[in-house]
């Protein structure tokens, strides 16, 4: 099963899902070391030079090469030869990279590619090849180290790896791993609503996650609003709050605001009492229930939900009025 599952991990530890891993990086909220700094420049300049074949009158680009191309016939006649290009490509490309900068030795059939160039241009091509090869290898190494378990190298060079990988190459592939999530975590909410007659009413608990679940049932294409929004907002909240519900740094307060805004938006949509008045305060709790083990398993676990109750939050006027309804 390799469907994505950030939650099992996010709930297990702070270094989890895409968003939830940010809290880790909080301490180094470094303004100066953007991802473009240092060796990254090499990536951009080297790899940016892949132009659009169509731009300009690109048809003349082979004018100088002339004659039939050397190399594997497989490439030229894929219909007949049925080659397995990718694997072979990968192997070849690795060869080149392992070998480091190319020498200037004449190639077997000096008709196309670098061989068609004069030594001056060949030097430039060789340089480009070397830069691109090094950049690709360094990039792969950095990404590998960023998804690998903590080890001697990451302990020593963690900062350099983060600077390279974050923010755009961040990734987490611990899909349903090491263990899949085995609990249904439902977010429930209630509100204090000021009614038109001036009175204040407290609503009952609305199970917002249950509504998500109902929306997903029988749905071939569940929306991110149903499958991810509240679920991941809660993951984010849990990952950025202490056990006694105190926010940790910027992301803690952001996650609180986020959960509150989702809850208010949804109560206005779904809760009849809230629709008639103006929400003053909301309270949120999570209800965690074990997924019952399969029938064929001798295991038994409790089926009682465990609640985590948050304090009442005051809803600001713009939160109560604005937003997407």
């Amino acid at each position: 099963m390799d469907a994505y599952d950030e939650d099992s991990h996010a709930r297990g530890g702070p270094d989890g899902a895409k968003g939830a891993s940010h809290p880790d990086r909080d301490p180094e909220g470094d303004a100066g070391t953007g991802p473009g700094s240092g060796p990254k420049g090499g990536v951009s300049s080297g790899s940016g030079s892949g132009p659009e074949p169509g731009a300009g009158s690109g048809q003349e680009e082979r004018a100088g090469s002339g004659g039939p191309r050397p190399g594997s016939g497989a490439e030229r006649e894929p219909l007949a030869a049925a080659p397995d290009a990718p694997a072979a490509d990968a192997a070849d490309a690795v060869d080149v990279r392992d070998a480091g900068p190319p020498d200037q030795a004449p190639l077997p059939s000096p008709r196309t590619g670098v061989a068609a160039l004069s030594p001056r241009y060949q030097t430039v091509a060789a340089l480009a090849l070397a830069v691109v090869a090094v950049a690709a290898c360094v990039h792969l190494a950095m990404v590998f180290l960023s998804v690998a378990p903590a080890n001697t190298v990451t302990k020593q060079h963690g900062r350099a790896i983060e600077d390279w990988v974050y923010p755009e190459f961040e990734q987490n592939w611990k899909l349903f791993a090491p263990n899949p999530l085995q609990q249904n975590i439902a977010v429930q909410a209630r509100a204090e609503v000021r009614m038109k007659d001036g009175g204040v009413r407290t609503t009952g608990w609305t199970d917002l996650s249950a509504r998500d679940g109902a929306a997903i049932d029988g749905n071939l294409v569940p929306s991110h609003t149903q499958q991810n929004e509240l679920r991941r907002a809660w993951d984010f909240f849990v990952a950025t709050h202490t056990a006694d519900n105190r926010p940790v740094a910027l992301r803690g307060s952001l996650s609180e605001q986020y959960v509150r805004r989702i809850v208010v938006m949804r109560l206005y949509r779904d809760d009849p009492t809230s629709r008639e008045g103006v929400i003053q305060r909301v309270q949120v709790r999570s209800s965690t229930t074990n997924v019952q083990p399969p029938k064929w398993s001798p295991e038994r676990v409790s089926d009682k939900p465990v609640y985590r109750l948050l304090p009442w939050w005051t809803v600001s006027s713009d939160e109560a009025a604005g937003g997407v309804r």
């Binding site: 469907a3 030229r76 991110h224 609003t225 937003g323």
Partner: protein
């Protein structure tokens, strides 16, 4: 010449003289852009809630986060509704352009801007599928993914045919105009100080723009063929490196997923697959899930099989047949996941990533079948079907373009 240096020079010749895997790069271009396009269409009615300035993850909140993590998003350039609506439409248009292979390099850059901007705007609504698209949209920029199955390829082939008939080629006005408009946009954004948050993406955008200009200039004005060949060589090298990175990334995804699973007690006791099937958020078809998990033996086989396939996959790349068997298994599993766990876009993205390893012969067959189906659907003459140009780069003057009319 001794053997290692011969191998080396052959390898260099191979990665410099052509952009390898034209069909593989085309199929991932089409797959990722289609996935993103379908996603944007699916969420069109939810776009305000997910990415709009007044959504639950409000514009100010997004700004606080992106100021801190320096992620690139064009949606932070303005908190206006108009900008958001226009941008969402532009993101869809860019996906269409990349899907069709219209000005492929430019389209890939705009596609990347669309993907990064929307995802980084609301990072907490994404899932693994978004993560795959995020990375691949960056990598695609470096590939020559429009060599086949694209409008660019068709245009190149037509120009080629015209030249063979001895006609003079008209200058590419659309390309120049597109380039100029993008240059103005880049300059405007830069001067307005909107590129100050993070340097990677702005640098990438400017680099591509400059290189596209250089490319056009060299095509038109260079007297000697050498600058053209040099640019072509560099483009090939960059493409081949990017394709390698894409393949390695796919391997990394499977390896990480597999090796971490091995450590999990639920994967060891064979019940791991049962649990996701019974999570409220991942069980659109509870009856089907119950049916699938009725037998402990089946669950154990699926759990062990999944881990084995994921861990083994990168190593099977050295053997065609085994690799292809595993590819079929993984694509099937993802197709099942799409329905059973309700993750269609994740699955589509993963199947696309797998497709980079498909054999060329299979892709050619797929192309022929698709072209025939399209021909039947559109009931047009044979000359109007989708492009199936030569396997080589469209610029290859020696290759015939007969397949083109299929």
């Amino acid at each position: 010449m001794n053997s290692p240096s011969l191998t080396l020079s052959r390898g260099i010749a191979r990665v410099t003289e052509s952009a390898l895997g034209p069909y593989q790069s085309a199929v991932i271009r089409i797959g990722f852009s289609a996935t993103w396009l379908l996603f944007l269409l699916r969420e069109f009615t939810h776009r305000q809630e997910l990415y709009g300035p007044d959504g639950p993850w409000g514009w100010d909140m997004a700004r606080q986060l992106t100021d801190d993590n320096h992620a690139f998003t064009a949606l932070m350039w303005s908190d206006g509704q108009a900008w958001f609506e226009v941008f969402y439409l532009l993101a869809m248009l860019a996906a269409v352009a990349l899907l069709l292979g219209w000005r492929t390099r430019t389209a890939s850059v705009l596609f990347m801007v669309g993907v990064l901007s929307l995802q980084n705007r609301s990072v907490f609504v994404g899932d693994g599928g978004d993560n795959v698209l995020h990375l691949m949209s960056l990598y695609l920029v470096f590939t020559r993914c429009g060599q086949v199955w694209s409008l660019d390829a068709r245009r190149a082939a037509r120009a080629e045919a015209a030249r063979a008939r001895g006609e003079r080629l008209r200058p590419d006005r659309v390309g120049v105009l597109l380039w100029a408009v993008l240059g103005l946009a880049l300059a405007g954004v830069t001067l307005a100080g909107r590129f100050d948050n993070g340097r990677l993406v702005p640098a990438l955008l400017w680099t591509v723009w400059v290189v596209l200009g250089l490319w056009g200039a060299v095509q038109r004005w260079a007297r000697s063929p050498e600058p053209r060949i040099l640019l072509d060589v560099v483009a090939n090298v960059v493409h081949n490196a990017a394709l390698l990175v894409i393949m390695a990334e796919a391997c990394l995804i499977y390896s990480t997923a597999g090796w971490y699973k091995i450590q999990g007690s639920r994967w060891q006791d064979g019940t791991a697959v049962y649990y996701p099937l019974h999570l409220d958020y991942f069980s659109p078809w509870p009856a089907l899930a119950d049916l699938m998990s009725a037998s402990g033996t089946i669950m154990m086989v699926v759990a062990y099989g999944t881990v084995m396939v994921q861990v083994a996959f990168p190593f099977t790349l050295f053997n065609r047949r085994v690799k292809n068997v595993l590819l079929v298994l993984m694509m099937t599993e993802h197709a099942v996941i799409a329905v059973v766990l309700g993750l269609p876009f994740f699955s589509l993205a993963m199947i696309t990533a797998d497709a980079v390893f498909l054999p060329t012969s299979f892709l050619l067959l797929l192309g022929t079948v698709a072209a025939r189906a399209w021909g039947r659907l559109s009931r047009r003459g044979p000359g109007d079907g989708p492009a199936l140009p030569s396997p080589r780069s469209p610029q290859d003057s020696t290759a015939g373009h007969v397949g083109f009319t299929a």
